[in-house]
């Protein structure tokens, strides 16, 4: 019985950690992107190359982080793949002539700079990163 309780506690704490991890990532967009909210499916389509526009939001240009906790959390929460599988998907599109690989940058600040300076740009950062000049998209 004691072991079962420990196991339940462990599962609960992992779940809480997971929810907190997702809550740490926010999705930001250039101020000219019309949409203020986006569904999880539409976000996944944009970041996997299945779509190049948001419904009612015009063309969008995704930007990625090269690595790190925020990147892993974003992939886990919204794409459902790890980094290796995610980039393999993009390689399929690039080497079959169906898409151009999104830019990847080293730091959240570079994401914010790119998003604020490029029409249609959309990216993800840790919510504690300063992000003046961009809009935060609500995930439905």
């Amino acid at each position: 019985m004691k072991h079962l309780l420990y196991a339940l506690l462990l599962v609960a704490s992992v779940s809480i950690f997971d929810v907190q991890a997702q809550a740490q990532v926010i999705v930001i967009a250039n101020s000219n992107v019309k949409a203020s909210a986006v569904s999880k499916n539409d976000l996944k389509d944009v970041f996997t190359g299945a779509a190049t526009a948001l419904p009612g939001g015009g063309n969008v240009v995704p930007i990625l982080l090269k690595a790190g906790t925020t990147h892993e959390e974003f992939l886990q929460a919204y794409i459902g793949k790890n980094d290796t599988a995610y980039r393999a998907g993009w390689r399929s599109l690039v080497f079959s002539g169906q898409a151009t690989m999104p830019k990847s940058v080293d730091a959240d600040a570079a994401v914010v700079a790119f998003v604020s300076n490029n029409n249609g740009a959309i990216g993800y950062i840790n919510k504690t990163t300063p992000h003046e000049g961009v809009k935060v998209l609500q995930i439905k």
């Binding site: 459902g80 399929s92 002539g97 151009t100």
Partner: protein, 386 residues
């Protein structure tokens, strides 16, 4: 040569609107990958290699250059060095195309473009993107990949949203000219019988594909149908002593497929039928009819065991319904496979095949003592991509 020009024209036309922009604005990217494979078979020699002695004769290197001068316009070109046994050992143009996407519902691509038939045709050559070393050979024969991968012409594509309850429908339509090169795997047996197609075989090809992304997350159901018009070409025999022609009648090649991928699991299956009829004529000799009715299917599954290691299995079966009963009528292939990603650039693969039947992947020149009905094939591969 004219085909290289078509590709070059596609690039130039695509680049014109961007000529006033800076290189940074063009978003030029260069990507590539290279793989080295090793094959070992317990009995017959396969894929024109001396695999029964162990053969490293499987090398590929790809370079891809792309640019996106505007959000809706992309241009690109991809070249490949391919060597597998006696196949290839040459640099070829995979594709060279300009792509304009008006919106999510409509896009066009033209030049030398990948043919979007079946489940894997567009991606069958992209080794870094999947876990298998060798895709099911009944539908994706590596010895004919250069011919089936792309055509000269265009593709129209788009995605239609069907509402939250019905998912999405992706469509593709294609048309143009397909060229089967003189050294293609389809002609190996003909060549060994002394029949040569000095110009290869080419003709008009058309087709369409539908991919239904169902409301069940990760599940796609699809179908495609490729139609080849009547193709004909010069045929020679006896080192040019006899000349004539090979004619292939119009044919339809349907594919039906399903793909499911969620979290760590991937499941897929596909059925394909290739019915070929035609005639071989050589002056002074009786006409030889050609009849093939090849039906192939596979089912595959893979599981991501750890962040870096994926394992999988497939069962692939191919039967030539016009062939006489016996081992040469079919190919039944069980494969178990594993892939390890050291990092996002470097990976290794290992694959074991248990093959019954000799319908696919063999030639007689490298098996002078005849073919044994069963073979085990081991493949080791290492790849790097950027």
């Amino acid at each position: 040569m004219k085909r290289i020009l078509v590709g070059a024209m596609a690039l130039i036309l695509g680049a014109i609107p961007a000529s006033a922009q800076s290189l940074e604005d063009l978003n030029i990217q260069i990507h590539g990958y290279a793989t080295q494979g090793f094959l070992y078979t317990t009995q017959n020699n396969m894929l024109t290699t001396s695999s029964s002695n162990g053969s490293p004769a499987w090398t590929e290197a790809v370079i891809n250059v792309g640019a996106q001068p505007t959000p809706k316009l992309r241009v690109g070109v991809q070249g490949r060095y391919f060597l597998l046994g006696n196949y290839g050992n040459a640099i070829t143009l995979d594709w060279a195309a300009a792509d304009y996407k008006f919106n999510e519902k409509l896009g066009v691509r033209f030049g030398k473009v990948k043919t979007p038939s079946g489940l894997f045709n567009e991606t069958q050559d992209i080794d870094p993107s999947y876990m298998w070393s060798l895709l099911p050979q009944g539908i994706y024969p590596i010895s004919s990949r250069n011919s089936t991968l792309a055509h000269f012409g265009g593709v129209v594509y788009g995605t239609l949203k069907l509402g939250q309850s019905f998912g999405k429908l992706e469509y593709r339509g294609w048309g143009g000219e397909r060229v089967i090169g003189t050294d293609d795997g389809y002609f190996v047996n003909q060549k060994e019988a002394g029949l040569n197609l000095p110009n290869g075989l080419s003709g008009v090809t058309l087709g369409a594909a539908l991919h239904w992304r169902t409301p069940l997350a990760g599940l796609m159901i699809g179908a495609s149908d490729g139609k080849d018009e009547k193709w004909s070409s010069v045929l020679t025999a006896g080192n040019g002593t006899f000349t004539g022609g090979e004619t292939i009648n119009p044919l339809n090649q349907p594919n039906y497929f399903v793909h499911y991928e969620k979290n760590k699991v991937m499941l897929a299956g596909e059925y394909n039928r290739l019915p070929v009829s035609g005639v071989l004529t050589l002056t002074g000799l009786p006409t030889t009819p050609l009849h093939i009715d090849q039906r192939a299917w596979y089912g595959m599954a893979s599981y991501k065991v750890t962040e870096k290691f994926t394992a999988g299995v497939y069962d692939s079966q191919t039967v030539e319904h016009h062939a006489a009963l016996g081992a040469a009528r079919h190919s039944l292939d069980w494969a178990i496979s594993g892939r390890y990603d050291f990092n996002q650039f470097l990976y290794a693969k290992a694959e074991q095949h248990f093959i019954a039947g000799t319908y696919l992947s063999y030639d007689t020149a490298l098996n002078p003592g005849g073919l044994k009905p069963t073979t085990k094939l081991t493949i080791l591969k290492v790849g790097v991509s950027f």
